[in-house]
Structures are given as C-alpha cells and as structure tokens.
C-alpha cells in the first residue's frame, strides 16, 4: 500500500489556554539557567522565588481559564472542565509541596536533599560539601519539570502527548527520590527500584499504545473513539492494547498487583518529596486515567470494567491488610495510599458524571491530607534523622500535644471519619458507584475502609496511651515554610469535611471530558 502524500497543515496553538503548564516548563528552563549562571549563595533564594512565582502564575491561569472548553495544538491538548480542575489541584499541591521541600530548619545541616548527590555516601567529599552548607538546588529544576509534566498529563488528548507527559512527570521524580541527605543508601536504592519499575511500566504503556494505534489507525483520542465501533475485526488487538496501556497507568497510581514500588519508594525517598509525590502523582495519574478510559475508550466500558473491577478489589484489600502489619510509618502510609487508590477506582468504575465529580473531590481531599501527614512525619526525628519506626512514636502526645493532635486529625481523615474531608470524599464516591449499580463493590469497599480504621487508630493509640521509653525522639521545630504548608493542608481537610458544597458546585459546572 502506498502512503498517500499529505499536505502539511501547521497546527494552530492557542498559547493562552496551554499557559498553566507552559509557564511551569518555561520556568524549569529558567531554573536551569539559574543553576548554570547564578552564584552558589544566590541559587536557593532565586530558585524559591522562581518556583513560587511560576506556581502561583500557573494557578492563576487555571482560575482564568475556568469554564474553557477547547482543543488546541493540533488536538493534542484538550482543555476542559476536569482538565482545568486537575491542573488547579496539581498547582495547589505543588505550592504546598514546594513549601515542604524548601524546609531547611528541621535538619541541622540543611534541607532534606544531599549537599551534593554525586558525592559517595560516607566519603570525605560528602562531609566537606555538607560542612560547606551546600544545597542541591537542582531539585527545583527537576521539581518544575515534574509539575509541568503532571499538568500536561491531565490534559493530554493523544497517546503520544500522554506518553511524553508521563515521562516528563516521572523522570525528575526518579532522580529526586535518590537525593536524600540522610540514609542515602536507602534513598539511592529507592530511586533504582522506582526507575526500573517505572521505565518497565511505561514500556508497557507504549507497546499498548502501538497496538491501539494499529487497531484504530490513530493516536488521537477522538480518532480512536470514532474508529472503535467501525473496526470490529480489530477488537482482539484493541483490547490487548487497552490492557497494556492500563497496566502502565495502574502502575503510576499504585494499584495492586502493580504496587510493589510504592512502599519502597515512599520509605526511601526524602519524606518531604514523598509528600509531594504521593499527592501529585496520584492526582495526575488518576486524572489522565479518567480521560483515557472515558474519552478514548468510553465505548469499551464493557471490556475494561471487569478488569478494573478485579484490580480495584485486589488493590483495596492488599492495601489494608498489608498496612496492618507494617512497622514503619512511611511504609504503612504507602499501603494506605494503595488502599486509597482502590477507593478512587471504585469511582472510576461507575463511569458516570457523578463518578467524575466525586473522583475529583476525592483527589483534592486526599492530596491535602497526604501532604499534611507526610510533612508531619518529617518533623519527628532522633539523632540519626527521621524516626519513622512506628514504635518510636510512643508517647508523642506528651512531647508535643499539637503535633499529636494534627496527626490524629489527619489519620481520622484518611480513615474517613465524619467532619473530615475523607468522609465526604468516600461518601460521594460510594454514592456515585451505588447509583451506577455497583453495590457489591461498594459493600466490599466499605468493609475495606472499616479494616483500615484499625491501623490508623493504632498510631493514635500509640501516641496517646503508651509511654515513651526514650527521650531521643523529639519533634523538630520547622521553619515558616512547613508551618504554612501544614496549616493549609489541615484547614483544607477540615473545610472540605465541614462545608464541601462550594467545591462540589464548582466541579459540577463542567464535568465533561471533550476530545
């Protein structure tokens, strides 16, 4: 067959509507220039200025774009209600996450990242760099690219753009996971595992995309959705491709049985990075997955629903049961995040507009709670660094009542107690799934969240009703960066739990994916 000569049509790009992520990617390039040309002492203040300015600008742009529905850049990018909402959530999460990453008072020698990541752990070089008070300001370049990638990920409207966004989001995070200041062997090991498994899963995504392209003749979501009913002879190829793509996406959201990287990376990465990553990647990956299954593969719902149904069930129960037996708080929270991925997927399975709105709400609520809890974990320290063993949290309430109270509140939110955002989020997800006649799944999800209460409350019991055996563990006094981040995340968890209606109204105004 001859390939017909095609006339090249230059795609028109509406720079205004894609500005939320182009601002961030542009800031990433500027940040790289700062690394290259600014004096070492000037880098940190300049980077912080750049990061916060560009994030606020990006957030402001999402607010200005509210209500826009348009395709641009040759239909590679779809700016619509859920897309803009997700971009705004990601920008907010990134602002709070950046405040956490900027913290440099908790550790006496600097922030959470190695003075110089290339220095061999334990070497004299490393000590020299640490004593000189150096910072790895490169993390801000990586951070900006990661956030830009997340924002592109949720509005990508073809398989190529989605793959590129996936990589732009993930690659910087692989590196940042390996740059911890303390416990560097653990951190490097986490980076290796994250990288190998991440690259493995994105190869699955890509091969799945190739098969879908072969079956439908297009990579654009509109072309794919249009071609699916017209080519029934291709259905085997198509479904194989969809399954492979879903494997890649399920890895990113941390669903069982593709969750093995989650506890290792959450534990090994610097905790302030874990906070940002746990919240941001989950929002971005679920956002992209929603667009993929609803917009491109919406007509295949009878094919992907049973698959996701089984994955949801496994994810929820693996998450809650394995979390029960963890002895490290970061690993426990990692398994809790796996369980939460399962709860969010209950909404995905409902396949309705109510499902989309409740997922967006859940992601918002979960992101703030997760940021808060991991930032609190980063404050509880002993002489060697963070004290993340669960046993070392004994009697924390007598050492710092306010910290213990904050942790308790956020744990209750994760468990889904009333008057916290976690309750409203779970309730709306389950309600939307019941409307979509998924009652058996919802009953199992309620069972799973009841089991989950056990390991959240175990921490609360340890903090309040057990006596501390040593004075080594103490709560560090953070700088204003972390305090502001914590206040915002706790307030959001409270407000969304007490008065959630405004956010629901906002999300309900344009719940449709366009393509």
């Amino acid at each position: 067959m001859m390939i017909p000569t095609q006339v090249f049509l230059q795609p028109s790009i509406d720079w205004f509507v894609i500005s939320p992520f182009t601002i961030l990617l542009g800031a990433g390039v500027v940040s790289l220039l700062i690394e290259t040309f600014a004096k070492r002492s000037m880098r940190r203040p300049l980077q912080l200025l750049l990061v916060f300015t560009s994030l606020v600008a990006s957030l402001a742009m999402t607010a200005m774009l509210f209500g826009t529905q348009t395709l641009t850049a040759g239909e590679a990018v779809a700016i619509d209600g859920p897309g803009i909402a997700l971009q705004a959530i990601i920008a907010l999460v990134a602002i709070i996450g950046a405040a956490g990453l900027a913290e440099n008072k908790v550790d006496p020698s600097g922030d959470a990242f190695a003075a110089r990541a290339s220095a061999i752990p334990g070497s004299s070089d490393e000590r020299a760099f640490t004593q000189a008070g150096w910072y790895s300001t490169e993390i801000w370049t990586l951070f900006l690219f990661a956030v830009g990638g997340m924002q592109l990920f949720v509005v990508a409207n073809d398989l190529l753009t989605m793959f590129i966004a996936l990589e732009v989001m993930s690659l910087p995070l692989y590196l940042m996971a390996g740059m911890a200041r303390r416990r560097r062997l653990l951190s490097q090991e986490a980076a290796l595992k994250y990288f190998v498994l991440g690259a493995y899963s994105s190869a699955f995504f890509l091969f799945g995309a190739a098969l879908v392209y072969g079956a439908t003749g297009g990579i654009n979501f509109d072309d794919i959705a249009f071609a699916i009913p017209t080519r029934p002879q291709m259905s085997t190829l198509l479904v194989t491709g969809v399954v492979l793509i879903l494997v890649g996406m399920l890895f990113k959201v941390g669903s069982a049985p593709f969750h093995q990287w989650t506890p290792d990376v959450y534990q090994g990465a610097p905790t302030t990075l874990t906070a940002f990553m746990a919240a941001g990647v989950k929002v971005a990956a679920f956002g992209a997955m929603m667009r993929l299954v609803y917009s491109a593969f919406g007509s295949l719902i009878w094919d992907w629903r049973p698959i996701l149904w089984a994955v949801t069930l496994i994810t929820m129960f693996v998450g809650v049961f394995v979390a029960l037996v963890q002895s490290d708080i970061k690993r426990m929270l990692a398994y809790s995040s796996i369980a939460h991925a399962g709860f969010i997927m209950v909404g995905l399975i409902s396949g309705t507009n109510a499902g989309i709105i409740s997922i967006l709400f859940y992601l918002t609520a979960y992101a703030f709670t997760t940021l808060g809890i991991f930032l609190l974990v980063s404050l509880i320290r002993d002489a060697s660094g963070e004290a993340s063993g669960i046993e070392s949290w004994r009697g924390l309430a007598s050492k710092s009542p306010i910290t213990a109270l904050s942790i308790t509140f956020l744990m209750l939110a994760l468990a889904g107690f009333p008057l916290t955002s976690g309750f409203i989020a779970k309730f709306s997800i389950f309600a939307s799934a019941i409307q979509a006649e998924q009652t058996p799944l919802v009953l199992l999800a309620i069972l799973a969240s009841a089991i989950a209460v056990v390991f959240y409350l175990r921490i609360v019991v340890l903090m309040y009703f057990r006596r501390s055996e040593s004075d080594e563990v103490a709560v560090a006094i953070p700088s204003n960066f972390t305090i502001i981040a914590l206040v915002v995340s706790i307030l959001m968890t409270l407000i969304l739990g007490v008065y959630p209606q405004p956010l629901f109204d906002l999300l309900a105004q344009s719940p449709l994916f366009i393509r």
């Binding site: 990589e167 692989y174 390996g178 090991e189 290796l192 190998v196 690259a199 190869a203 392209y213 297009g218």
Partner: protein, 99 residues
C-alpha cells in the same frame, strides 16, 4: 511484504525485553531489556503506520527515541551513583528496603 510479520517480530522483541527485566539481575542488563521493549514498540508503530497509511506512527517513533535517550541519562546516573557506593550493579544487593 505483509505488515503482520513486522508486528509479530516486534511482539517477540517486546516479550524478550519483558522477560529479560524479570530474569536478569544486573541493573545495566535490565535497563538494556527495557530499551529493547521501547524499540519493539517503535517497530510496531512504524509497521502500523505503513498499514494504516498515515504518518502518526512514524512521528511517535521519533519522540520515543528522544524519550529513550532521556531515560538512558537518568537511568545511568542512578545506576552509576549506586555502583560508586556499593561497587556492584546487581539488583539483589540493593535490598535494604524491607518491611
């Protein structure tokens, strides 16, 4: 020439890569297997571009090459950092992270 042959070849290459990641214990070799998977996807894209009669697949192949190059940079940086610390690139040695 039938496009199906190319698709079968790319599936075989992809499977070799996928199995390679699971059975090999050296980080560099695992990494090479991942690259093989990406290149298998590229071959499938180009073959399907021929079958579908449009250029989308060829464009994707170019982008994937760039992404693969970026992945090499990141991956080798991480593997090098670990190698300099531990003097080994074996993935089994990296087992500090346990429950």
């Amino acid at each position: 020439m039938d496009v199906t042959n190319y698709v079968i070849l790319s599936s075989i290459l992809f499977s070799i890569g996928a199995v390679g990641v699971l059975v090999r214990r050296n980080a560099i070799v695992m990494f090479m297997s991942i690259e093989l998977m990406l290149n298998a996807a590229n071959l499938a894209f180009v073959a399907f571009a021929r079958a579908n009669g449009n250029f989308d697949g060829q464009v994707v192949a170019f982008f994937v090459m760039v992404v693969a190059a970026a992945e090499v940079v990141i991956g080798l940086a991480i593997i090098m950092a670990i190698f300099r610390t531990r003097k080994t690139a074996s993935i089994d040695e990296a087992s500090l992270l346990r429950a």
